[in-house]
Amino acid sequence: MAPLATTAVGPGQFYELVAHLARRELNAQHRWTVLGWAWPLTRQLAQLAVLVFVFSKLFDFNIDNYGVFVFTGLIAFSWFTSGVQGAAHSVLSQRHLVFQPRFPSAVVPIVAIAVPLVDVLMALPVLLAMLVVSGDLGPTALLLPALLAMQLLLMCGFAWICAATSVYLRDVPQIVLVALTLLWYMTPVFYSVSQVPERYQWVYDINPLATLIESYRAVLIGTPSPGAPEIAGACAFALVLAAAGLWLFRRLEPGFVDEL
């Protein structure tokens, strides 16, 4: 972990910074609202209710236990979008940190990912309760932390790349927004990959987020797992992307001060 920081900052210090800054961010977000910490969960449940209504009452997708099915995908997808979108703005909006001589700026996009992770942790008990009620919860659910870790790694790569490039090109956050909107339809959140015609399947095979969401469902609900090559490919992609992202971030970092 040591090369994460440009100054002499150990992994302990790196964690300390992320934890402190994420807590600070969360406090600032929820301080002046009545519902406070209940807001992120409320937001996700509202979205879930709409999706369940539209795709099981208006159009029947005919998926078993649709509520749990959608919620699993929704939690993972929301974390991904909030995290990457937040990261794209992160360095631009945290001038006061980037201008501190001893501060390793690579922390900033990671904080943007850590903040919506709290939403995930708050939604998980609700999801687990739903699984218990539907009787789907099995021992494979113990693999969940490994999948979350893999998603974290995948997001780190995107976060570093988006955060660093947006300093030089202010269009990046907008581009990210468009890309994420498209991604919503190209990722099986509210539908199942099995409904997709054969000739478009390759889109889902190369989409690491689709593979991830399929895996979440496999371990939680017991739907068919994606193939081993897809999983290995997604893992490798996440690793390479994170390494490339960090490399790019550290390359561009010395110029931040001049560009901000």
């Binding site: 100054t7 002499a8 900052v9 302990g12 210090q13 300390e16 910074l17 934890a19 402190h20 800054l21 600070r24 406090n27 600032a28 001038r95 006061h96 940190l97 201008f99 501190q100 001589p101 001893r102 501060f103 030089y168 090109l169 202010r170 269009d171 010395p254 110029g255 931040f256 001060v257 001049d258 560009e259």
Partner: protein, 410 residues
């Protein structure tokens, strides 16, 4: 070995500024500039500087000369285009308050963040917090958002943090001038303390007296190069002298309309961007006074104005000369007394009030000056233009007559 050294440092910035970091800006503005090879602006050229442990180096020079860029590079913010910068790992910089605080968060939260960012564990930071707040004297405001703080309070908080950091090198840009006098003295004492323990100090300031009093060496930076470097007092002197000739160069040729006894290039100098329109001496009763008695009250009232656009933070100075031999009996300025005029746009009245002026009887003349915020030149300077006669029956010798009495103890 804790020391800062810059070796042959050059720094250029892209000419495009904020607003051209969009796709459109790149195509319409950046590419044409790059094509014509005019895309870089050199801010520093071949600057070298060395400051050992406990040493203190001052940077002087007009605004935009590159002092702030130099400090940033020394702090490790940004990379020099050419040359090398060495600095201790634990370098703290108070460059501007934007870079210290998040306005929405409270003073307490900001202080903890600043400590964590500078390498403390959260638990340590929390235990240091009371000391920070005590030094800053902000215990009562610790839970108010920093956006509600005055500049002086922000300075106090920043210094409270720095005092706890015990950095190996401390870089300060001008900011110290916003605190009140008592707190400035406290900061000075603290900085002195740090220096005795080996902290290297690098400070940029327009206040030449501050540099002379607090720095071992000084660099005069002009247009991105080191114009003079050496002993602080010598450099400050040279800078002052150059300012005088800069003023002369800017003084327009005498024109048609001259007010009163003032004549450009005879007893009036300066660029005339902003002017001193009237200088009135008034006695205790508020009457115009050309003559006062020793120890009487005197008010010098100046009307200054800027007619061709605003000028920011000009400095007003008054000097009293004795006519017989030209000795400067007294000199003061709004800057040396830490009075800020703010932006001068239109007319402003500035008064210098003496509760008692203990000058000995004789003939005196006053200079009145209006200077640019960085003292680079005068906007308007009236040389020995205002006569003042001091009368009295005293036969003391010297310049002034402090209140006194004789007592014979047998």
């Amino acid at each position: 070995m804790s020391s800062i050294s810059l070796d042959g440092v050059w720094k250029s910035y892209p000419r495009w500024s904020a607003g051209t970091r969009t796709l459109r800006g790149i195509v319409t503005q950046r590419l044409p500039m790059v094509a014509r090879g005019k895309d870089r602006r050199w801010v520093l050229s071949d600057v070298s500087l060395r400051a050992g442990p406990g040493e203190s180096v001052g940077l002087i020079g007009p605004n935009g000369a590159g002092k702030s860029t130099l400090l940033r590079l020394a702090a490790g913010l940004g990379r020099p285009t050419r040359g090398t910068v060495e600095r201790p790992d634990s370098t703290a910089a108070v460059l501007n308050f934007d870079s210290w605080f998040d306005g929405e968060l409270t003073g307490r939260e900001n202080a903890v963040t600043a400590l964590v960012v500078n390498g403390w564990r959260r638990a340590q930071a929390k235990s240091l917090l009371p000391a920070v707040l005590e030094f800053a004297e902000l215990e009562d405001f610790a839970d108010a958002p920093v956006r509600t703080y005055s500049e002086g309070m922000k300075l106090r908080l920043a210094f409270g943090v720095v005092a706890q950091l015990r950095p190996a090198a401390l870089l300060i840009d001008e900011v110290i001038a916003v605190g009140d006098l008592r707190f400035q003295a406290k900061c000075m004492e603290r900085i002195q303390d740090l220096r005795e323990n080996g902290t290297t100090l690098l400070v940029a300031s327009h206040d030449l007296d501050y540099i002379v009093d607090n720095c071992d060496h000084a660099l005069w930076i002009q247009a991105g190069t080191v114009r003079v470097s050496g002993d602080a007092a010598t450099v400050a002197d040279e800078y002052r002298r150059a300012m005088q000739s800069a003023t002369l160069d800017r003084t327009p040729a005498p024109g048609g309309s001259q007010s009163g006894d003032l004549e450009l290039r005879r007893n009036r100098y300066g660029s005339q961007e902003a002017t001193i329109d009237a200088v009135a001496l008034r006695d205790r009763a508020g009457e115009a006074a050309l003559e006062i008695s020793t120890g009487a009250e005197l008010t010098i009232a100046l009307t200054v104005s800027s007619r061709n656009g605003p000028v920011s933070n000009p400095i007003v100075g008054i000097t009293i000369h004795r006519v017989s031999d030209g000795v400067i009996c007294y000199e003061s300025s709004t800057e040396s007394d830490h009075v800020r005029l703010g932006t001068l746009d239109g007319e402003l009245r500035v008064e210098l009030q003496f509760d008692r002026l203990d000058l000995l009887p004789g003939e005196y003349r006053l200079d009145a000056g209006l200077y640019r915020a960085d003292w680079e030149f005068a906007y308007d300077f009236h040389w020995q233009a205002y006569p003042l006669r001091v009368v009295g029956s005293q036969h003391d010798k010297g310049i002034f007559r402090p209140p006194h009495r004789w007592e014979v103890v047998r």
